[in-house]
Symmetry: C2
Subunit: 136 residues, 2 copies
């Protein structure tokens, strides 16, 4: 019975890490919804890595995402100021996406995550095998 949230209904398909009425002292949950929700990270990473791209290029480069969801996520990222969309009213229409300055400020975070991944993902895999062989 939560009252309808007063914050931004306009954008559809917003993922929500923070559930109903949590006090959430955790300061990094808001970032998750913006940067690390489903599909946003591959999009930002691809744009940051390969630079300005058209819609279909991006679609091919990411792989597995549907056009509908890609559009949704790009709108969301544009609204959040992380991605810049440029529309050329030519005929076949052309749209190009690039990462914004604000989006580029995420680069160190991505680098840190990649580094952690390289160093510690094998340990996670080890832990899983140990856990699974210990339990039935």
């Amino acid at each position: 019975m939560r009252t309808a949230s007063m914050t931004n209904p306009p954008m559809p398909g917003k993922p929500v890490h923070t559930a109903g009425g949590g006090v959430q002292a955790c300061p990094i949950t808001p970032v998750l919804d913006i940067v690390f929700s489903r599909w946003t990270t591959p999009i930002l990473w691809t744009l940051n890595q390969f630079g300005r791209q058209r819609f279909v290029e991006l679609h091919r480069n990411i792989g597995g995402i549907t056009a509908k969801v890609l559009t949704q996520r790009l709108r969301q990222l544009e609204r959040d100021g992380l991605v810049v969309r440029t529309y050329y009213p030519e005929v076949p229409p052309r749209v190009e996406y690039e990462i914004s300055e604000l989006g580029q400020s995420l680069a160190p975070l991505f680098a840190a995550l990649t580094e952690w991944s390289e160093g510690h993902l094998p340990l996670v895999e080890q832990a899983r095998e140990a856990f699974d062989s210990a339990q039935g």
Copy 2:
């Protein structure tokens, strides 16, 4: 019509950032499923911040999460080696959770995310307002 994945069905409720058949060159997606999926971040952050806690303490400190999901996420984090669970077979049973050494290696990442959040979340909020007032 994807063939049933051969990787770990044992653990229920695994969130999946990487969809069906993506090539995913993006190197940080695996980390998202482990560390930054729903509820795992608040759990890890709370354990890292306030240290070893019992189940109900954790439940109260996080807020908004149900006992069932908290149990699921804690099992998953234990399996991944990020959290250590200690069971005391006393008569009101007692269980204590603490962050593991591997989990502590995430602390710099959390700090970096918090720092980014403090510096750039206001800009995201600005961008949203600008976008919303530009569009109808």
